[in-house]
């Protein structure tokens, strides 16, 4: 793979507008890496000799923030490491910090990392970047995906696609592979573990199955190492970021040395000794075994046997640990591939996909939903609506009914997980469908529709259908906030976010209005004879109103007028179809 350093000010492809340039960002637990397509190859962006930006954030009392290497320098304030591990539970108390007068959450801290990375990318490329493909662990649930997308939005990045990390790695390797057989990606990062089985054919790179653990990664190896040393000296080490970084350094030394000396200053004493790779391997064995159990689960879901796999690819910095390489090789009876830098390969794949989405590609990625989605039914039992490893996008509907005579409301509780009971699954959203016409139990029909998009994000719609009434409720399951409410909610943290959002919405409304006006004018020029004078003038007036409103630059004026015209033109469209059918 050709890697080159890009001179400041040089553009990846000359004469490109900001709209069709997009980067790939691997937002990792310990490091963040970015890449972009240049001359048909993915280039990992470098700052000096470094491509890895530490995903570290230091929060100061006065509200200031330092990100990356600057955050790691010993300093005052609070150092936050591995914030990504809190994304699966981003509203939980442990993911919320108050420093000085500022309240921080996993989302806003992640936004700081992304904002910093965006600035760094812009300084290297010498141009503004608005769009990106951002990678997430394949096993991230709906809440964590939404939280990641929100963090990007706050950082001023439009997410073209949330791409699963193992899929991104497969894309990077796929550039050099011409096999039509299935292969596995074993992705062990700083904080998360994923395994995906993929199969390329007919221009589609299809994920057959995925499995993982969002709380299993190199961080846990560090913890095991700390525990091991605590055990050897019968002491307790303080759980500070400094000790964590010290343990990480020891672990890295053990990837190429048989035995290493260590020492650390505690308050009153200094402990020191030697650590062998055998001791370390024994300490992490339960974790390694856990990953192999997850691998077996993914394999079972594909109904393939291990010898039907072409290859196994190692991704993520933690796959440098020799015990992992040995375990994977023994498990698959194949020597695993890792010829692309395991720290950079996910970013590379994201960069390739960012280029493919903006410039078109021959290969389409077909991913799956990692964890089943369902609804709570009577007795707290989960009824699965979409099963794990279903290809996305997908839409599934299920009909429910009332269980009490005259019942007028129904609570819909959306959960994600594999277990049978609601309490063992992750709760995504809860809402109440009201105004159900009172009827005998079991006669009302309520259709609940789950729609999962290509980012793996879920929208739930509930509809009560009787002879005359129809109503629907839409849910964006995360914090129970819609996009605009979320922006307002985070406004104090990011002053510009809202105006950016409104600008975007305004642009979209204007484009949509212009399209509608143009379309209607053309239709009128063809078939205005189908309309009576009153309807014609009504349409013309509504068109004129909308045209005038475009100059106001006010979305609240434009949007209702546009919707009004759309409504009015509807019956005209029906008349035209009827007319065309009569003609033929």
């Amino acid at each position: 793979m050709l890697l080159q350093i890009c001179e400041p000010g040089t553009t990846p492809t000359p004469h490109e507008t900001d709209d069709n340039i997009a980067v790939g960002i691997d937002l990792g637990t310990t490091h963040t890496v970015a890449s972009i397509m240049m001359n048909g190859r993915p280039v990992v962006l470098r700052w000096g000799h470094q491509s890895l930006i530490p995903s570290a954030v230091r929060l100061f009392e006065n509200g200031d923030v330092a990100v990356g290497e600057d955050a790691l320098k010993p300093n005052d304030g609070k150092l936050v490491l591995s914030i990504k591990r809190s994304m699966t539970n981003s509203t939980a108390p442990e993911a919320t910090f108050t420093v000085g007068h500022v309240k921080w959450s996993a989302v806003t801290i992640t936004a700081q990392i992304l904002k910093f990375v965006k600035n760094e990318i812009e300084s290297v490329l010498g141009r503004a970047i608005h769009q990106a493909v951002i990678t997430v662990p394949a096993y991230f649930d709906d809440a964590a995906r939404t939280a990641t997308k929100q963090a990007a939005q706050i950082a001023g990045i439009h997410v073209l696609r949330l791409l699963n990390e193992p899929t991104a790695a497969a894309v990077a390797y796929g550039m050099n592979m011409h096999s039509q057989n299935a292969f596995a990606i074993y992705d062990l990062g700083g904080g998360t573990f994923d395994v995906s089985i993929l199969k390329p054919s007919e221009g589609v790179l299809r994920v057959l199955s995925t499995a993982g653990d969002t709380q299993l990664g190199g961080d846990d190896f560090d913890k095991a190492l700390i525990k091991l040393i605590e055990h050897k000296h019968n002491t307790t080490l303080p759980s500070t970021p400094q000790v964590k970084l010290w343990a990480r350094d020891l672990k890295q030394q053990l990837t190429h040395k048989k035995t290493i000396p260590y020492e650390i200053d505690l308050n009153d004493t200094k402990i020191h000794g030697d650590l062998s790779v055998e001791e370390f391997d024994a300490a992490i064995k339960p974790l390694v075994d856990k990953t192999l159990t997850i691998v077996d689960q993914a394999m079972r879901d594909t109904k393939l046997t291990k010898d039907q796999l072409d290859s196994v690819i190692l991704v993520g910095g933690s796959t440098r640990v020799p015990a992992i390489i040995k375990a994977v090789e023994a498990h698959f009876s194949k020597s695993p591939l890792s010829y692309l830098n395991p720290d950079e390969v996910v970013a590379m794949g994201a960069g390739i996909q960012a280029g493919a989405l903006t410039h078109g590609a021959n290969t389409v990625l077909l991913d799956v939903i990692p964890i089943s989605l369902g609804l709570e039914t009577m007795g707290g039992i989960v009824e699965k609506i979409i099963h794990r490893n279903t290809s996305i996008p997908t839409t599934q509907s299920q009909t429910f009914t009332t269980f009490v005579d005259g019942q007028t409301a129904l609570t819909i509780h959306v959960v994600q997980g594999e277990r049978e009971m609601v309490n063992d699954c992750r709760s995504l959203a809860k809402f109440t469908l009201r105004n159900i016409p009172p009827k005998p139990a079991g006669t009302a029909k309520i259709t609940v529709t789950f729609q999962v998009d290509a980012d793996g994000l879920l929208t739930v719609t509930a509809e009560e259908e009787t002879t005359s009434t129809k109503q629907s409720v839409e849910v964006n399951p995360t914090f129970g906030l819609n996009e605009e409410e979320m922006i307002a909610h985070l406004e104090s943290a990011m002053k510009h976010a809202q105006s950016d959002m409104r600008k975007r919405l305004l642009e979209e409304a204007k484009v949509e209005s212009k399209r509608l006006i143009q379309a209607l004018e053309k239709a009128l020029s063809l078939d205005s004879c189908l309309l009576d004078a009153a309807t014609l003038s009504q349409l013309q007036n509504a068109t004129a109103d909308l045209k005038t409103s475009l100059d106001t630059q006010d979305i609240d004026t434009i949007k209702p007028l546009c919707e009004n015209l759309e409504r009015l033109s509807h019956s005209f469209a029906e008349k035209r179809i009827a007319h065309a059918i009569r003609q033929s």
Partner: protein, 214 residues
């Protein structure tokens, strides 16, 4: 050649005319507008067999299914419309969901044969009570399965089931052609049971540990 056939069959069966949302021309509703090339909303009522261009049968041609599915997904996946208008994005999202769901329904003989039944007779198979001869046959086979003691016996049993499956499939297809609902229900229920039994015996009995255990 298959590609041409596929789009032809789709077009002829789904030749509903609509007004293109973008250019206002009146066009046939399949794929892209023949006038302005924008993506058109796809007919929702199209059945999975027609959508994926395979013969409606209990014995779906997997090679054609796989090939046509990947071709359609390649063409309509939302990733192909990321720089396009919101309307096209929405259409691509719902159409590729429809394609994925259709493939899922046809990939498994269990769901595809039930789907075919409800398409032909307008009634779900599960709403029809199990006919007595079917129950009797199931009872006999279950008993036989219980008394298997070696891999050889299990293998012979699998062959027996496979022959029965072939018969059931043939009778079912014939019943579909004759529009004989009772006969179709009889053989489909037999088939579904045999199919499950076949999977079960292969998974649980046709491995070395079975021989050792007995």
């Amino acid at each position: 050649m298959a590609a041409v056939n596929l789009s032809m069959s789709n077009q002829s069966k789904a030749a509903t005319r609509i007004i293109c949302w973008n250019c206002q021309e009146i066009v046939c509703q399949f794929g892209n507008c023949s006038s302005c090339h924008k993506l058109l909303p796809q007919p929702q009522e199209i059945d999975p067999f027609t959508l994926l261009g395979v013969e409606p049968s209990i014995d779906v041609d997997f090679e054609t299914l796989e090939k046509n599915y990947l071709k359609l997904i390649h063409q309509f996946h939302p990733d192909q419309f990321i720089t396009k208008s919101q309307t096209e994005k929405t259409i691509a999202q719902s159409y590729s969901a429809q394609i994925n769901n259709a493939y899922k329904a046809l990939k498994c003989p269990f769901s595809s044969s039930k789907l075919l039944f409800s398409m032909v007779f307008g009634q779900a198979l599960d709403d029809i009570p199990d006919p007595a001869p079917v129950l009797l046959e199931i009872f006999e086979l279950n008993e036989k399965r219980m008394y298997l003691t070696s891999i050889i016996q299990a293998q012979n049993f699998v062959h027996e089931i496979e022959t029965k499956i072939d018969t059931a499939v043939g009778e079912y297809d014939a019943a579909i052609t004759q529009k004989d609902q009772l006969k179709a229900a009889h053989f489909l229920k037999t088939f579904l049971y045999l199919f499950k039994l076949h999977q079960d015996v292969q998974q649980n009995l046709l491995n070395p540990s079975f021989d050792q255990a007995t």
